[in-house]
């Protein structure tokens, strides 16, 4: 049985006066791709931001490898081994691809160099545009850079927010293949609106609606459940 790497227990998060998350329960098991699904504005992105500490939880517990990280600052959480790829990719526009990666690399060990080599083989475009400014890359290349940057450290868990957003179908295919490849080396939590992509790469799912967890289970169950898909995702 796979062990639990990340667990969210009854998470409530406020942003200003707004009560965004109102009881999120979620679990990511080691070696799996766990997908957070839900309509626009359901609270998926806020859930990822709460895990990484950018919008800290007002109550509830976030546990990572058996340690409570709920109140830890973002940089501490990242240093524990959680990589984050935001929805807008968060590329440093005026820094080159090389510099974007260098900011992320906490130490230059043999292991990190091997990881860098691995991601550059996974995303050959990054090697090709090594000296090009991040802001001048295409949408797909930015997504690849953001994923590579989150991966080069000792990331035991990757949080990836809507990697297919705004990308052409052919690029989505490439991103999907990369995620499947990265899954061999790390655990992934994915927020995704594109159900076709989510269903192809996800092992388990959690449905969030109005800031609450309403359902979770294995992806194959959701694929077979047209009623659930229709009710919460408006498809099927």
């Amino acid at each position: 049985m796979m062990t639990s790497l990340l667990k969210l227990d009854n998470i409530h998060t406020h942003i200003g006066q707004y009560h965004i998350l109102q009881g999120v329960h979620f679990e990511a098991k080691e070696g799996e791709v766990s997908v957070l699904l839900g309509r626009n504005g359901a609270g998926k992105t806020t859930t990822l931001k709460t895990i990484i500490g950018l919008t800290p939880a007002s109550s509830g517990t976030v546990t990572f490898i058996n340690g409570d990280i709920t109140k830890k600052p973002t940089y501490d959480i990242a240093n524990l081994g959680i990589g984050y790829v935001p929805e807008d990719q968060g590329i440093f526009a005026q820094l080159s691809v090389e510099e974007n990666i260098k900011v992320a690399m906490r130490k230059e060990t043999d292991e990190s160099k091997e990881k860098l080599e691995y991601v550059l083989n996974l995303f050959p475009d990054l090697k090709k545009f090594w000296k090009k400014a991040g802001g001048n890359l295409s949408g797909g290349q930015k997504q690849m850079l953001a994923m590579a940057r989150a991966f080069v450290n000792d990331s035991k868990l990757l949080l990836i927010d809507e990697p297919s957003k705004g990308l052409a179908p052919i690029v989505i295919e490439k991103v999907m293949e990369a995620i499947i490849e990265m899954k061999k080396r790390t655990t992934i939590v994915l927020v995704e609106q594109n159900f076709i992509m989510a269903s192809k790469i996800g092992d388990s799912f959690t449905l969030i609606d109005d800031g609450k967890t309403v359902h979770h289970g294995q992806m194959k169950e959701l694929i077979a459940d047209d009623e659930l898909k229709h009710k919460y995702l408006g498809i099927g």
């Binding site: 990484i52 950018l54 940089y75 935001p86 440093f92 526009a93 802001g135």
Partner: protein
């Protein structure tokens, strides 16, 4: 031609002093999103601490070192006690830093007395060279060289070192820098202290240049520094150098050719830049 060379040297020297003051201000604004109206107070404290140390020890080098230490200490105290509680709130930042500016100014009078202090150029840098018909004042050349060395040093740090890379990345996207495992608050403190030290150095270098120092001097130069930051682009180090030289040269030429416009020229340049390029001549892109 001789006159033009003299005016250029004069303008460059003034520009370099403004650059040293504006460089810290632009980094503090660019990275920390903090409007620091107390920057002029750090400048004047640098001037007094440096000049009094110089008078006491007889060494201008020690005076510069004393100014740097004063800037670092005041920068540390200010960031921890005054700036930290008001991150993200511009209105509170303006109010509290303006208040701090007044406190720093009045504290000068308490510690060093209310009178104007006359300052002489250090012996080694005093006097001038005559090249043909042109008289070149040594101290102005010293300031220009010093300014370019500081620019070169900081340009190297910002573009060739890991800490510089993090600062540049932080100017573009603070949240992402944190999500990559970097304690941005520690970087904020480092940048604020460095900016304060640069302001203090500008103060001690300005003192022999203007020949006298007084408590209110900080506010006068701080306004020039703010104009330079707006013209150069908030957060842009290179932009500050370019704009400071532009303001210095414009002031120098206008003071000679159209003296009644010399005070207004900086405002005119700023207005023109704001009309055609509101983000400033150089920009530190966000996101």
């Amino acid at each position: 031609m001789d006159l033009i060379i003299s005016l250029v040297i004069n303008g460059l020297a003034t520009g370099m002093l403004i650059f040293l003051l504006a460089a810290g201000l632009t980094l503090i604004f660019g990275l920390m999103d903090v409007l620091n109206f107390a920057h002029g107070g750090l400048f004047v404290w640098g001037a007094y601490a440096g000049i009094f140390s110089y008078a006491y020890t007889g060494s201008f080098t020690l005076g510069i070192i004393a100014a740097i230490i004063t800037g670092l200490i005041l920068g540390f105290i200010m960031e921890k006690l005054i700036i930290k509680p008001v991150y993200g709130n511009h209105v509170q930042q303006i109010l509290i830093t303006l208040g701090t500016m007044l406190v720093l100014q009045e504290m000068i009078k308490v510690f060093f007395g209310p009178n104007v202090v006359a300052v002489k150029v250090p012996e080694l840098l005093a006097g001038s060279w005559q090249v043909g018909d042109i008289i070149i004042i040594k101290y102005r050349i010293f300031i220009i060289i010093f300014g370019f060395i500081v620019f070169g040093l900081f340009h190297y740090i910002l573009t060739r070192t890991k800490i510089g890379l993090i600062v540049r990345a932080g100017v573009m996207n603070k949240e992402m820098v944190q999500a990559l495992g970097i304690n941005i608050k520690r970087i904020f403190l480092f940048v604020f202290m460095t900016g304060a030290a640069l302001a203090a150095v500008a103060g001690v270098l300005m003192a022999p240049y203007s020949g006298a120092i007084y408590a209110e001097l900080g506010m006068e130069y701080a306004i020039l520094a703010f104009i330079v930051v707006v013209i150069g682009g908030m957060g842009s180090f290179q932009g500050s150098l370019f704009a400071a030289i532009l303001v210095g040269l414009a002031g120098s030429f206008m003071a000679y050719y159209v003296p009644y416009l010399s005070l207004a020229v900086n405002m005119i340049i700023m207005a023109v830049v704001l009309i055609f390029r509101p983000q400033g001549l150089f920009t530190a892109a966000k996101g």
